[in-house]
Amino acid sequence: MKYKIRIIKYSIALFMLYNIMGCEESISTEIDQDLVVVQGFIYADQQVTDISLSEVLPLGSEDTLAPPISNAEIFISKGSDKYLLIPNEASKGFYYYPGNDLLISSGDELSLEVNVNDQKIFSETIVPPKPTNLELDSDTLLVPEFVMGRPPDLEYYSITLTWDNFDNSYYYVVIGNIEDAAEPIEVGSSKFSSRFVSKPSISNEYRVSFRTVTHFGKHLMILYRVNQEYADLYESRDQDSRNLNEPLTNIKNGLGVFSAFASDSVYFNAVQE
């Protein structure tokens, strides 16, 4: 009996404690709906046309397009000069500079100022120098005939692009087929037909193998010299759900990226062996 009473006492104490604990609320996650996403890309020797603003999408949203923001006031500053961008009516959320007096050159230090919904968003970047000594060891890329169980020699079926990179900068290669009606490369299975996706690297060469391309014909190969903030976007892509991190950004008081690029290009032909 004595023990029973004690057990009951313990149980009551425990129950009370449980209820006290149960009252604690977990920290709620409040989504900041006013967050602005900036995508601002500036290219050396080109007009400023690729600046866009959008909202974030709530996690549960089934939308795949983020609502664009078209009512912002955006300035690009270069030295002491300040240029007002205007919304592109044909493309919601995009802004451009209509004049010809904003010349973008390598070495320019640019800043971005966005005023929207009582928020001030700021960022800055430097236009990198153009890649130098761009050289492709062959302008023809041979594509082998695929035989199951006999993988081709990758070295043989590759061409290599080289350039100078004395200061360990980031470079990024984009390859595109420029034929009007390009013939797809048949490999017998879909295994090697997906396009190879590259990412910025600190390198002075890039090897293009037959697996890099998906169609025969003429290809344009653009080599971009990119800044750290652009390379960071690739570092931020993969997220482990147990160790989530805020993607790297150079936008103050917002999300996204503001970056500048300089590029050079070459051509090659992909042909069947």
Binding site: L17, Y224, V226
Partner: protein, 818 residues
């Protein structure tokens, strides 16, 4: 910080001198009608010495505790007829009438009888504490591995999981036996087995601790504020003393659980020594019980996770049950060379082996006369191999020394290989296609020499001092395809430490322990001074106040990968000029009130933490991928450094006596870190921060049955959650989705709770053998505890899945003693 420490230490030294002179003077004046009482305390059945057993003169303040060889001395005891009260957890207490006036100063040989769960008609006086008790030092706990059998368990009797039930100690999940002590992390705990440092402290990816409870005699656990004798870690100390074995007769026990089989053999050697061999091995590679499968299912992603699909959309690597086993082997030889000399050699080997290889899968080639076979070989093994040799000598009744030499080697190797072989008319013609080979190899070797001395200047004054030399080498190698080295780092450093700890009664109810530790660390070419202070003030026989303060430095870090099945990516690295030694300052204040049956305790703590290290796994994994990034990266790029603090208060009510006993504890705690690179430099909760934690443990003995229950409640784990998504279009036209996340660890998983039950029946068949058989039920009411929250960021909208921990899990066990 080092300069600050020096100033503190030097300012204290004159005070130490004054105290020593004062106590020596008192000692000379009052020793006229007094005589020492000395002897050893042993197990009656086995003759094995009992460490840290208590002996007191009833009705007085005179008493002593046995040392590591079971020897005790009560200095300057009154020369009169008295009663000695001898007690030790798990043993019947003994009262011995003793006339200290007529005695011839002969060494006493006191033998205590182990308590049997099997009922006798005779009423015995048992040591009041059943499983653990607060010990002589602040925040120190003595645990009896012998008594852990009665607690609910998960397949195995587990020392570390039992420690998780104590106030101020928590585990991070069902899958971890790691100890998070007062806001510290498991790598901040110094784990010693017979003096050797053990780096591999768990089996089965952390599910079980690596120590076989049957091979451990005593556990001393210091939750903080530990004395200068211990160093090299900044949170806590778990000092395990291995069983030395029976010196009287051959003994054997065999145990079987749902996961493993184990046996302990004790062999006497010439009545003066013994050999103990203990072996445990899981049979999960031979028979995969439901219990094993539920654990493996949990560890590989929980009940809710989907089978893995590889990057090309194929399902060749979907769920499979790998071959896994672990074992541990303890061997100890102990021998009493003379009345003054005792030697022991201890050996430990624990290892986990995981084979995730898959049977080759055939793929037809063109023409039909040849075929391809896809193979996957994936072997991982990790463990610890170590040994120690100890010589201890009782120079005289008051001076005791021991020297210990130990060497341990921790290894963690993963070899994985994927590729194709071609067979033509049944003959293998070699490797074809793209093959992938990966090797990850982490190694820690530790060579340590320790000299510890205890000098009892009087009954109220003990001086401990010693030297500690250790040489630690760590290496971590990660390669791909034999040609690409992703990480290759070797570090080595030695340290030489000297310590002194002076414990004395300043006046009768006040016991002070004042000490310091001076360490020269080679890698930073610096001296580290760690002053330590603790005090216990006994206001009455029942009421004590206690406090301690100390500084602690840690010279090695364990980098943990949360994806536990990628076990090999955990690695140890020694500190150097870049990876600075961790540093902590402990402040502890508490009080305890004891009655015959109950202990009420309250203890508050505050820890300042400096040079904390975070390893960003996400960036590491990216560096290892593809060929466009630099082929060699420096591991330093992935480390981030910060500071933090941990604070809390622990409440405890323990019913220590009677057939119904147990404890109820509540801990209110907080751990916050500040890293300049995280959370805009603002403080954030550590992922193991648990605001509230309740432990309720009860045990009830009815006849040959022992019923027990434990209930655990804890605030949910802190985590970082995604809040929204946005899209950016890259230069090649691809659109990537990005996830904007909350402040670091700003969210909490649901609260954790679990009730476990256990019933143990003890039996005895005449005098030939006895045993225990029982059933344990883990998570009795099948509460859904969330391990982590998984976000599928590839889908839109994002799919959120709660990966849950173990549901109701019954296990059976049996143990037979011959």
């Amino acid at each position: 910080m080092i300069i600050k420490s020096k100033r503190n230490s030097s300012s204290l030294s004159p005070m130490i001198k004054t105290f020593i002179y004062f106590i020596l003077l008192l000692n000379t004046i009052y020793s006229a009608d007094k005589k020492d009482i000395r002897g050893t305390i042993r197990d009656l059945e086995t003759g094995e010495t009992l460490v840290y057993a208590n002996i007191i003169i009833e009705g007085s303040n005179y008493g002593a505790t046995t040392n590591q060889d079971g020897f005790f001395i009560i200095i300057d005891a009154p020369t009169e007829l008295c009663t000695l009260l001898v007690s030790y957890m798990g043993y019947e207490s003994k009262k011995i009438p003793y006339d200290n006036k007529k005695s011839n100063s002969k060494k006493l040989d006191i033998q205590l009888k182990p308590i049997s769960i099997v009922t006798d008609d005779v009423t015995v006086i048992a040591e009041k504490y059943k499983i653990w008790k607060t010990a002589d030092e602040v925040s120190q706990i003595t645990l009896s591995p012998k008594q852990l059998m009665i607690l609910p368990k998960l397949g195995e009797v587990d020392i570390f999981r039992s420690l998780q039930l104590l106030p101020g100690v928590s585990g991070i999940s069902d899958g971890s036996s790691g100890l998070y002590v007062r806001g510290g992390t498991p790598d901040q705990n110094l784990i010693l087995l017979d003096g050797m440092t053990v780096y591999h402290v768990d089996h089965f990816f952390g599910f079980f601790s690596a120590f076989n409870a049957d091979a451990v005699k005593d556990v001393q656990f210091y939750k903080g504020g530990f004395s200068a004798k211990y160093g090299g870690r900044m949170s806590s100390v778990v000092d395990l003393t291995g069983k030395s074995g029976s010196v009287n007769k051959f003994k054997l026990n065999v145990g079987l659980s749902s996961l493993s089989i184990n046996s302990v053999a004790e062999i006497p050697v010439f009545d003066k020594g013994s050999i103990l061999i203990s072996a445990r091995r899981s049979y999960s590679d031979i028979i995969q019980t439901d219990f094993y499968q539920s654990i493996y299912g949990f560890l590989s992603g929980g009940d809710e996770s989907e089978p893995r699909i590889n990057g090309r959309g194929e399902v060749m690597e979907q769920s499979m049950m790998p071959s896994f086993y672990f074992y541990d082997l303890n061997a100890k030889f102990s021998y009493q060379l003379s009345n003054k000399d005792f030697i022991s050699f201890s050996f430990y080997n624990g290892e986990d082996n995981l084979d995730e290889s898959q049977e080759p899968k055939s793929m037809s080639g063109p023409g039909g006369n040849s075929s391809l076979q896809r193979f996957t070989n994936d072997y991982t093994n990790w463990g610890n191999l170590g040994g120690s040799a100890k010589w201890s000598r009782q120079w005289n009744d008051r001076l005791y020394s021991n020297i210990l030499v130990s060497a341990t080697d921790y290894f963690n190797i993963r070899n994985s290989e994927r590729g194709f072989t071609s067979t033509d008319d049944g003959n293998t013609s070699g490797f074809l296609g793209t093959s992938f080979k990966s090797v990850e190899d982490n190694n820690v070797s530790d060579f340590t020499v320790r000299l510890d001395n205890e000098w009892k200047l009087s009954n109220a004054h003990k001086l401990s001092f010693g030297l500690w030399y250790s040489d630690v080498n760590t290496s971590f190698l990660m390669t791909r395809n034999d040609t690409l080295t992703i990480l290759d780092r070797n570090s080595a450093s030695s340290q030489l430490a000297a310590y002194v700890s002076d414990k004395f009664n300043l006046f009768s109810p006040l016991v002070i322990d004042l000490g310091g530790r001076l360490t020269y660390y080679e890698a930073t070419n610096s001296l580290y001074i760690e002053p330590r202070f603790s005090a216990i003030y006994s206001l009455t026989d029942k009421l004590k106040f206690k406090g301690s303060w100390g500084q602690y430095t840690q010279f090695i870090n364990h980098i943990t990968n949360e994806d536990i099945l990628e076990g090999t990516r955990d690695f140890w690295m020694v500190a150097d000029d870049y990876l600075k030694p961790g540093f902590a300052t402990h402040y502890i204040l508490g009080a305890e009130f004891q009655t015959n049956d109950y202990l009420f305790s309250i203890e508050g703590y505050y820890k300042e933490l400096e040079n904390l290290v975070e390893f960003n796994q996400r960036i590491t994994s990216l560096k290892g991928r593809g060929g466009t990034t630099p082929q060699t990266t420096t591991v330093e790029e992935n480390f981030f450094f910060g500071d933090g603090y941990s604070k809390g208060i622990e409440f405890l009510i323990q019913k220590k006596a009677g057939d119904f006993n147990g404890w109820l504890s509540y801990t209110l705690g907080q751990v916050e870190y500040t890293f300049p690179e995280f959370n805009d430099g603002l403080a954030f909760p550590a992922s193991h921060d648990r605001r509230h934690e309740v432990n309720f443990v009860a045990s009830y003995k009815i006849g040959n049955w022992n019923l027990s229950a434990s209930w655990v409640f804890a605030t949910g784990k802190a985590y970082t959650a995604p809040e929204s998504q946005y899209y950016l279009t890259m230069l090649d036209g691809d659109e990537y989705a990005y996830t904007h996340v909350s402040d670091k660890n700003a969210n909490r998983l649901p609260d954790y709770q679990r009730l476990d039950l256990s019933a143990t029946y003890s039996f005895k068949v005449k005098k030939s053998y006895s045993g225990d058989v029982g059933l344990s039920i883990y998570n009795l009411y099948d509460y859904t505890n969330v391990w982590y929250r998984q976000y599928d960021l590839e889908t839109s909208p994002i799919v959120i899945t709660d990966v849950t921990m173990l549901g109701i899990t019954p296990t059976l066990f049996i143990k037979v003693y011959f």
